[in-house]
Amino acid sequence: AALLEAFQARIDAEDRIEPNDRMPAAYRKTLTRQISQHAHSEIVGMLPEGNWITRAPSLRRKAALLAKVQDECGHGLYLYAAAETLGTSREELVDQLLTGKAKYSSIFNYPTLTWADIGAIGWLVDGAAIMNQIPLCRCSYGPYARAMIRVCKEESFHQRQGYEIMVTLSKGNEAQREMAQDALNRWWWPCLMMFGPPDAASQHSDQSTKWKIKRFSNDELRQKFVDATVPQAHYLGLTLPDPDLKFNEQTGHWEYGAIDWDEFKQVIAGNGPCNRDRLAARNKAHAEGAWVREAALAYAEKRHARKAAA
């Protein structure tokens, strides 16, 4: 208990916790879960966007999308490395993903159906991710905070690219404008769900807030996102798919309608439109790559043995 108090005192003093520092088991466990979920999200997130690389409608967009997906993979790798500093290996963490034990962001269980979805994901999904992640740059755990700084920088670049796709589409011909509106219609509500359950129903938040892993509540972040995004949609000439949306002059906030939390629960429970496809794709890549990883290992061992013998 004394240790716990000492730890809390460090947190309260805005000290950064580093890998070799003593920390409560629950802190370690919470962070391992959160960082690895975040890593899994980056890796699974490659799939819906990767789905459009071969069909991108210009070479410039194709190159940008490919670079973006590559960045996501890079983020996944830093984040696994950050999680490993807490004592669980990447292999074990990935295994939790592949067996369905670990979660990843619910948003990646929706399909990308048209090119406009690539714009919408950059604009909305990355926009929501940044809202979530900026406070994490000040997270109490050093390696995670540092990873987040790097990730946020790249994400905001992606977000601008995504918005720029939406600008181009909304200035385009009728088919392009329809495509842009349709993408907004489909991605808006799932993006609001990305911030997690409403504060009244949220589980982990209290302790996470005390440990300065989390610095804003789900609803606070969601509101920030809505306030930032609604004017952008209006600038594009698009309509938000929420008849209850209205600006409250007094609070200065955009008030949004009721979120369908049943849908969210279903997606979290594995019943989203693409949950099975996503896990199947990652498992297939992993299984089909087994012989490659074995070969790399066998070669490394042979080489080591040869050096030792020489």
Partner: protein
């Protein structure tokens, strides 16, 4: 409204398009791996090489447009030529197959492209020489990366050896086309714009063989070699690739993206 184009293939335009098509189609094939590679490091590496190649293609298409002088853009060439209009070698359009096949294809092409672009740095065409300088640096990395994998797989397990040996046997007949030159290209060689590809072949073979030896793989003899890509006679694989690559542009033609 946009539709399939017929390019005015002057020697310089044709020459530039052939290199651009090699880069685009191979880049496309590599990009198909994205999210499905055997390890995350390879998701990164394959995407990175795809990006290099697509970047080379973009510069080359832009230059082909200038050389043709009709105001065509990089996207006109990529999205509005049909299968018979593409000029890439057959090697680069071959399907990915397993990781061994993808790596071996990359290895054979990268060793060629590395020598090729290095030689092209001396081209009298300033634009091609500049593209060459950038591309050569990129291809040196591809050579290293693919070579390391060829050695690991060749000298790894029995399974990996068998897979990469099979890929080597299957893909070797597509390497002759890399060194093909027709009259149109020879004229550019004489003008100091293009490189004499036949002069690179021995060096290429020696470089490739050195790695294959280390990988405990036997370098095949040069038997019958497939060709056709340079004149638009492709394998059946290219059409399916283009159906995917061009679908959005063809469905909503004439749009800005």
């Amino acid at each position: 409204m946009a539709k399939t184009i017929r390019v005015n293939e002057t020697p310089l335009v044709l020459y530039t398009l052939r290199r651009a098509d090699d880069a685009l189609i191979l880049g496309h094939r590599l990009s198909e791996w994205c999210g499905h590679a055997p390890m995350m490091e390879e998701d990164m590496a394959l995407a990175n090489m795809a990006l290099d190649l697509i970047g080379q293609a973009r510069s080359l298409y832009t230059y082909a447009g200038e050389a043709e002088g009709g105001g065509r853009t990089e996207d006109d060439f990529a999205y509005w030529r049909d299968e018979r209009g593409y000029r890439n070698v057959l090697l680069v359009e071959q399907q990915n197959g397993d990781f061994a096949r993808t790596i071996l294809r990359q290895f054979l092409y990268a060793h060629f492209a590395d020598l090729y672009w290095r030689a092209m740095m001396a081209s009298k065409d300033a634009t091609l020489a500049a593209i060459a300088a950038k591309s050569e640096k990129e291809m040196a990395y591809h050579v290293r990366h693919a070579g390391e994998w060829v050695i690991r797989l060749g000298d790894g397990t029995a399974e990996s050896h068998a897979r990469i040996a099979a890929a080597l046997e299957d893909l070797w007949p597509y390497t002759g086309e890399l060194f093909e030159m027709d009259a149109s290209e020879k004229a550019l060689v004489d003008a100091g714009i293009a490189v004499d590809l036949s002069a690179l072949r021995e060096r290429w073979r020696a470089n490739v063989k050195a790695v294959l030896d280390e990988a405990t793989l036997t370098t095949p003899a040069d038997g019958w070699m497939q060709k056709g890509g340079r004149t638009g006679i492709h394998s059946e694989h290219l059409g399916h690739l283009l159906a995917e690559l061009q679908h959005v542009q063809h469905t909503i033609p004439g749009a800005v993206w």
